[in-house]
């Protein structure tokens, strides 16, 4: 519930469709805040590097939830692949398999609902504020 996480939905062309960061609500001390800002841009690189591993693993198994696929320093990367090749990546520091699996499944359902809108183009960024609110609520519930 209190771990820091960074969640990305990656399209089939390795482009991020949606990004969000979750973490503990309060950031009291300025020192801690600064440290987190330094690592923010690294998150994209770490997830991008993990995409290669996901690409290898996704053809080996029938499952959608590929648990922890990569590790970087103290961060773990978990992945989930949908039927049409969209990848959901979560960068987190505390492994919590069940919660993460449920989070991915609920987010997948929201993604399908967004996709059913005929005005969303494939591989388009998902900018709906309602979607954002819902994903954050799911993150608070499961992570």
């Amino acid at each position: 519930m209190s771990s820091n996480s960074y969640f990305v939905i990656v399209g089939t062309r390795d482009n991020p469709l949606y990004e969000a960061e979750f973490g503990p609500a309060s950031r009291g001390d300025g020192g801690g805040h600064q440290k987190k800002d330094e690592h923010k841009h690294l998150n994209q690189f770490i997830v991008h590097a993990a995409l290669d591993v996901v690409d290898d693993l996704m053809w080996g198994t029938n499952a959608m939830y590929l648990k922890v696929v990569d590790k970087f320093n103290e961060w773990f990367i978990s992945a989930y692949v949908t039927a049409s090749g969209t990848r959901f990546m979560l960068l987190h520091d505390a492994p919590n398999q069940d919660g993460i699996r449920n989070f991915f499944q609920d987010t997948h359902e929201l993604y399908i609902k967004t996709l059913l809108n005929p005005f969303t183009e494939t591989n388009a960024t998902l900018t709906s504020p309602t979607l954002d609110t819902k994903i954050r609520a799911l993150a608070r519930k499961w992570l």
């Binding site: 053809w59 029938n62 499952a63 949908t82 039927a83 997948h108 399908i112 609902k113 819902k134």
Partner: protein, 187 residues
Amino acid sequence: MSQQATRSSSSHAKRPPILERNLAKGRSNEVSLSALAFLFCEMLSYATKKSSGIQDMEKKLSDFGYRVGLRTLELIIFRDRPGRRDTRLLNVLTFIHSTVWKTLFGKPADALEKGTDNEDEYMISDNEPNVTKFIAVPKEMSQLSCGAFIGGIVEAVLDGSGFVSAPSDFTPRTKVSYNVYDLGRQS
């Protein structure tokens, strides 16, 4: 998209926003065949107006079908096999032949065959596709097959599952046949 009975009076009620609707199958998600046929007619006349020839029109219909197919793939997998996806070509083809056809058209496709002259050619046949049941093709466009729409759906399902495919032939009224190139991923 199914052949069963129509929706009731809920069409006038305020619908919940898209992210709060239920994805599970149910009576409220079914549409009548007449509504579908009407929509398809309009799609065809739109495509006729905007395109310059038969090839172009088939491509347009195929594009329409592609957009439907992507969403269909995700939705069917979500409803029928949550948490598992197909990685092998034959499984995907069988999936299309039975589940996709049954969900979209109410009955499984009539046959799934492997082409004899070409290693990577497969054919899915449907003797009476119900989207084209009410379409009459004029003589000067007899080369046209409205099955291009269905072909687009199949192409999207194959594409989404990771197999590159190119339609090789739409025999009017019956077969949809595909060259499927598997990029060496399966053993």
